[in-house]
Symmetry: C2
Subunit: 235 residues, 2 copies
DNA sequence: GATGATTTGTACGTATGTATA
DNA sequence: ATATACATACGTACAAATCAT
């Protein structure tokens, strides 16, 4: 596991759990580029020169082009014929819309999880939450981020709906470049943990409405936090 | 407009409204393959031989491979390294999950539309609905289908959320191969129209909850209708 | 289980379209 | 506006992996 800490897994369209089959060059390059975009090493708006990048990864342009096409389908880059692909730079309005949908998707996950999560899944979620409490004490944003992803992923899985998990993760990945800074704003760590606590309780109680509502609020708070950091907020 | 009646538009990842720029070969082939899958000319499980299909379309394997990769990202085909891509054949369980998510996405669209639809959008929706009434009299399933798509698309647009529109349309496209037969079941046309009527009224009244609930029911009824037709239903 | 046939994955050269002087 | 430079789109050849016998 030498992936970057901020990497969102499941870069593949159709993914099997632990299958460690040999990757094609196109898949390798796609994974690397996706990570670089998700954790901000490639900034929104930046053009991706095929020849240049292919050379830098030591592959020909063919697999690189396939990788870029996948990234375009994921929404991470935008392509137009005969022009370089560029890292997606959504307008503030489009970003707002994506956060709104993200909030609803996660709320739906939470609601379904409250209804259908298995006992072992509930225990696992609690364990992750306790881990977050530990990290909170040490005030370590980067470690918090990793476990935070797991907390949310555990709730997605609890929905017992693979398709919902798929589109929720895909949306999360698209938003990742714009959520990175969230834990840098003052006191966000502690607030996030408290929100998680409310969500966890609601899910464990099997209260679907409450789970949905607390999760929705949690996500929209993340958006606020980003806007605050990025200086987009009017407030 | 010589596209097949059942074709779901917006095959492109990033689409501009009326931009009629010259398509690349990869885009042309992708559009054709997507249509063929969506309206069932290519059956789930069928392998797509690259050499064969490339020859049949008169293009080389390079653009064809790019097209297949896009289809894989859309979920219309499944690919595994060094194996032929096959038209996606979801399990009954996975199909159920997709319909569940579809119902929630459309319900969200309807809810947001009830809150935010513009006056001209409302009028357009009414016009479409009246067109459906006309077609209903003539009992013409194929024409009903075309306008039915427009009815739903109009509601998506009314949500004022481009990202929601994007993923809802994408989900609809993925489900299309499994919804084709819905209007063949007895009386489905008339029932569908009545459901639309309830949805329309709720939206025009600005009743978000009711709009969501009537839409959710409508979609799940479509699923039932498919299952009935496909013989999957236990009832 | 090994070997040949078949199909996919990759490299590279040329054609074509875009941007800029 | 025309031409030139440059990046992408596509075709073809070969390598590598799968499958069929």
């Amino acid at each position: 596991m030498k992936k970057s800490p901020t990497a969102v897994d499941d870069t593949s369209p159709a993914k099997e759990a632990g299958s460690r089959r040999k990757l094609t060059r196109a898949e390798e390059v796609r994974a690397k580029l996706a990570d670089d975009i998700v954790d901000g090493k490639l900034s929104p708006g930046m053009p991706l020169d095929e020849t240049e990048i292919a050379a830098s990864y030591g592959v020909s342009r063919t697999p690189l082009r396939e990788a870029i096409r996948d990234l375009a389908a994921m929404g991470l880059v935008e392509t137009r014929p005969h022009r370089s692909a560029i890292v997606t730079r959504p307008s503030p309005e489009h970003l707002r819309q994506m956060f709104q949908v993200m909030a609803e998707l996660e709320a739906l996950c939470a609601s379904l999880a409250a209804a259908h999560m298995s006992l072992s899944e509930r225990r696992k979620l609690e364990t992750i939450h306790e881990g977050l409490a530990q990290i909170l004490k040490e005030n370590d944003p980067s470690h918090y981020h990793v476990l935070n992803e797991k907390f949310h992923a555990a709730i997605y899985a609890g929905s017992q709906n693979a398709y919902l998990v798929e589109i929720t993760l895909a949306t999360r990945r698209r938003l990742s470049p714009f959520r990175r800074a969230q834990f840098l704003t003052a006191g966000r760590l502690a607030k996030s943990y408290k929100e998680h606590d409310l969500i966890l309780v609601a899910i464990l109680q099997g209260n679907r409405e409450l789970a949905a509502e607390t999760m929705r609020r949690h996500i929209l708070t993340v958006e606020d936090s980003y806007e605050e950091y990025a200086g987009l907020k009017v407030t």
